[in-house]
């Protein structure tokens, strides 16, 4: 198992390094707008280019980048968006808002999705199952920003239950703050709940029709006992890694929901750094690395947790 994990992590690091190197080269080849934003003064531009390190050979720049940014954690200072501020600390400042909204979403959508999925599987081919399955198809398919508009129009504008935008500030556990985050949480949650419901229902119905469950019933266990002790535990094998993967994904958040509800998070930082008239390449570099890492990590965690949760896979890997 340990060897397997080590192998996967090493492979991931190699992939990460390749992607980051490609991104670095591509970003450095972009027209250097941050140096030109201060006017047409040739000398000034040249000085800025020199200061930003653009005049060194690309390979030297790359080595500096590897040593200073990837290994040292210094991602430079902002060149246009938050002029002069440290990119890394600004990024860390934006992180809590994204994590808070997505963590709240997971907190309510994971139990709800599991419960609905279990209920639908137990009531398979009854009207409850048909109802849930139909709702799931609709909620899985409709893009999250359509819910966001609906939630904003109905709950925020018509019924005036919540404010339109998430409050600024960092007190993520206060009541006021939570209420202002509810529309965003709801919009994000619909899709997650529906996806999890569908997955749980599919896995559980498969387990519920298996022979060993029939045996358990024949031995005299009640339906509740067989479901909880036998069916659910086996059905959780593929479901649990999926939930775990989603938990890692909460850090990357949703660009579009952050934009709609004005959440001062990482996604908004990314969009702002590239849609500005003067793109902020240092933010862009850091966030590209961040999103790549999150994507790769969640993939690994899903695969590794399969091994931990399923003894068959764990034992199989020792051979």
């Amino acid at each position: 198992m340990l060897k397997y994990i080590a192998k996967r992590v090493a492979l991931m690091l190699v992939v990460f390094l390749i992607i980051i190197s490609m991104c670095f080269v591509l970003i450095k080849l972009l027209p250097n707008k941050p140096a030109e934003q201060f006017g047409k003064d040739k000398q000034l531009i040249e000085m800025r280019r020199e200061a930003l390190g653009y005049n060194k050979p690309l390979l030297t720049q790359y080595l500096i980048f590897l040593r200073r940014s990837l290994a040292g954690g210094d991602w430079g200072i902002s060149e246009s968006l938050y002029l002069g501020q440290d990119v890394w600390s600004k990024f860390m400042e934006k992180m809590p808002a994204t994590v808070a909204v997505n963590a709240y979403t997971m907190l309510f959508s994971v139990p709800l999705g599991l419960l609905l999925g279990i209920y639908a599987a137990l009531r398979k081919n009854h009207w409850q199952d048909h109802f849930i399955s139909t709702a799931v198809v609709i909620f899985v398919s409709v893009p999250s920003y359509v819910y966001a508009f609906l939630v904003q129009y109905i709950l925020c504008y018509r019924l005036r239950l919540f404010p339109f935008q998430v409050q600024s500030g960092t007190d993520f556990f206060s009541r006021q703050m939570f209420i202002s985050m509810v529309p965003a949480i709801l919009s994000l949650g619909f899709g997650t709940v529906a996806g999890l419901t569908r997955y749980t229902r599919a896995e559980l119905t498969e387990v519920l029709t298996s022979d060993y469950l029939l045996l358990a019933r024949a031995k005299g266990l009640t339906r509740a006992q067989t479901t909880v002790r036998h069916a659910l535990r086996n059905a959780m094998v593929p479901i649990f890694p999926m939930i775990l993967g989603e938990f890692v994904g909460i850090m990357s958040g949703s660009l579009i929901i952050e934009q709609i509800f004005g959440i001062p998070g990482v996604g908004q930082l990314y969009v702002a750094s590239i849609t500005a008239a003067t793109p902020d390449y240092n933010f862009f570099m850091l966030l590209s690395a961040f999103y790549t890492l999150i994507g790769l990590l969640s993939g690994i965690i899903v695969d590794v947790s399969y091994g931990f949760i399923d003894p068959r896979i764990r034992i199989g890997s020792k051979k």
Partner: protein, 508 residues
């Protein structure tokens, strides 16, 4: 036994075997092929058939609306006049609930007076229904009177000030004479008045000064004889020959004169574009017709999605086929390449392509490249799996013993067996592309907005600011994309089940 039976001749007997009911004969019903069977089982799945019909309707909408429903107004792409017709709610040509161009409004006293003034001057009352009149509201210190009304927004457009050349002015006059519709209304005394709707005496804030009976007092300019600064125009309603009303303020130099006129927006629309203003889905904040514009956006989305899945199919099929067929070291090496590519977040790829290529090859090709760069990986892994499944089977071995080459086995024998799965994943990738494209344009990472082109995401982003005041601007694009995503998913799931032969017979 009777005698008859004893004397039966031998010829009348036949053997009692049921030769006609042999059970190992080929079935008499015509055999059903793979696709016919898939089609049959697809049509049994009601929700997928409904979804297919919805997709058909949406595609027809995207295809034919730009062809059939374009008119002089929607074609006038760079006409700044369209701003005068912005934010008109949906209205159908025949009475329909919700599509009547009306909306509920709460106005204060001067707002109500302005609506009454339009009714009095043009003879068309924009107020459809008065819910409550003169509601007192003392909040905020000052006592204010409010009116809750249902207003026809098409009639409430009122007047605008236009500067016309003499030729345009005369043409408009000629049109008035010909049709009998009054478009030009008399000029008001105060030449500095910017609100063209105020034809009555009012204070600086626009609140009407009423006479003793509570009526509006007209403040029309009359043209004195010999005064060249105003142009007079005789119309039948103008009944005072001594003091003819002035209709246009004359400006400009003597060689290049122009006329500033107050024209009725609906009447001028009819003059300019040849039909009465009426927009089925309403108009957006720039005055563009949402019905035809959404069709343009939909057309773009469909074309992009179909183009991308075709390219991805091509690349993915070849790549996956090579991986799956040869296996071993080839597979390992090629898998690492797709590992690296699939690790790059799509958002980053799009951004990089946009920043690098958009200025060189255009926004749409850059977007296309970004989609293709990572999009084919899913298709390749599907094809690879199918090839692993089929390459060890007997028919492949048989083909090889008969001398078929690698490419013939791959694309002549294995590929047709995997076609069902491939078609399904192709169809299921279309809603994903449309979703990504609309998100990217919504966020402004790619900009597809121009006078001739748009995308659904751009329309959503444009309507976001008017979500609470004019929700219909965002409603129709959002409805379109929601319907599209739901029906494509249902349709794709139906296809997947139909193409899966192991599910045969389970539905009945």
């Amino acid at each position: 036994m009777t005698d008859d039976m004893k004397t039966l001749s031998r010829e009348k007997f036949t053997f009692a075997t049921d030769r006609d009911k042999r059970h190992d004969r080929p079935p008499e019903t015509p055999p059903r092929g793979y696709f016919a069977d898939a089609m049959y089982r697809f049509t049994r799945n009601k929700s997928s058939v409904v979804a297919a019909f919805i997709i058909l309707i949406l595609v027809l909408y995207a295809l034919f609306v730009p062809l059939l429903f374009e008119n002089a107004y929607t074609r006038s792409l760079t006409d700044t006049l369209t701003l005068s017709y912005a934010k008109l709610p949906p209205k159908a040509r025949f009475p329909l609930p919700f599509l009547d161009g009306c909306s509920d409004k709460t106005v204060n006293a001067s707002g109500y007076a302005a609506l009454r003034a339009i009714a009095e001057e043009t003879g068309v009352d924009p107020v459809v229904k008065v819910y409550t009149a003169g509601r007192q509201d003392a909040s905020g210190g000052k006592k204010t009177v409010y009116y809750d009304l249902r207003v026809d927004n098409y009639k409430a457009m009122g007047m605008m000030l236009l500067t016309l050349t003499p030729a345009q002015y005369e043409a408009l006059q000629a049109w008035q004479d010909e049709t009998g519709i009054q478009a030009i209304y008399p000029a008001v005394k105060d030449a500095k008045q910017t609100d063209a709707n105020i034809w009555y005496q009012a204070d600086k804030k626009g609140a009407a000064k009423l006479d003793k009976e509570g009526n509006l007092v007209a403040a029309y300019k009359t043209a004195a004889e010999g005064d060249e600064s105003y142009h007079s125009l005789r119309i039948p309603a103008d009944d005072d020959p001594e003091h003819p009303l002035a209709y246009a303020r004359v400006t400009g130099t003597s060689s290049a004169r122009s006329y500033v006129v107050r024209v009725s927006k609906p009447a001028y629309f009819r003059y300019r574009y040849g039909f009465e203003p009426c927009f089925l889905f309403g108009t957006n904040d720039k005055g563009q017709d949402i019905f035809t514009r959404l069709a343009h956006g939909a057309r773009f989305s469909f074309l992009l999605a179909i183009g991308i899945s075709a390219i991805n199919l091509l690349i993915g099929a070849v790549y996956g086929a090579i991986e799956g067929y040869y296996g071993g070291a080839v597979d390992l090496a090629m898998e690492r390449v797709s590992d690296v590519l699939s690790g790059v977040p799509f958002m980053v790829v799009t951004t990089l392509f946009q920043l690098h290529l958009a200025s060189r090859v255009g926004v749409v090709p850059a977007l296309l490249f970004a989609f293709v760069l990572t999009g084919w990986i899913g298709m390749a892994s599907t094809v690879r799996m199918q090839f692993y499944r089929f390459k060890g089977q007997e028919y492949v071995l048989a083909a090889r013993t008969m001398g078929a080459g690698d490419s013939r086995i791959m694309f002549g024998h294995i590929f047709p067996n995997a076609i069902g799965t491939i078609i399904t994943s192709c169809v299921l990738s279309i809603p994903g592309v449309i979703f990504s494209e609309s998100s990217l344009t919504y966020l402004g990472i790619i900009n597809l907005e121009s006078s001739a082109m748009t995308s659904v995401g751009t329309m959503l982003a444009g309507g976001k600011a008017y979500l609470s005041t004019d929700p219909y601007i965002i409603f129709f694009p959002a409805l379109f994309i929601a319907l599209l995503e739901i029906s494509f998913n249902l349709f794709g799931n139906g296809l997947r089940d139909a193409f899966n032969p192991s599910l045969r017979g389970t539905e009945e």
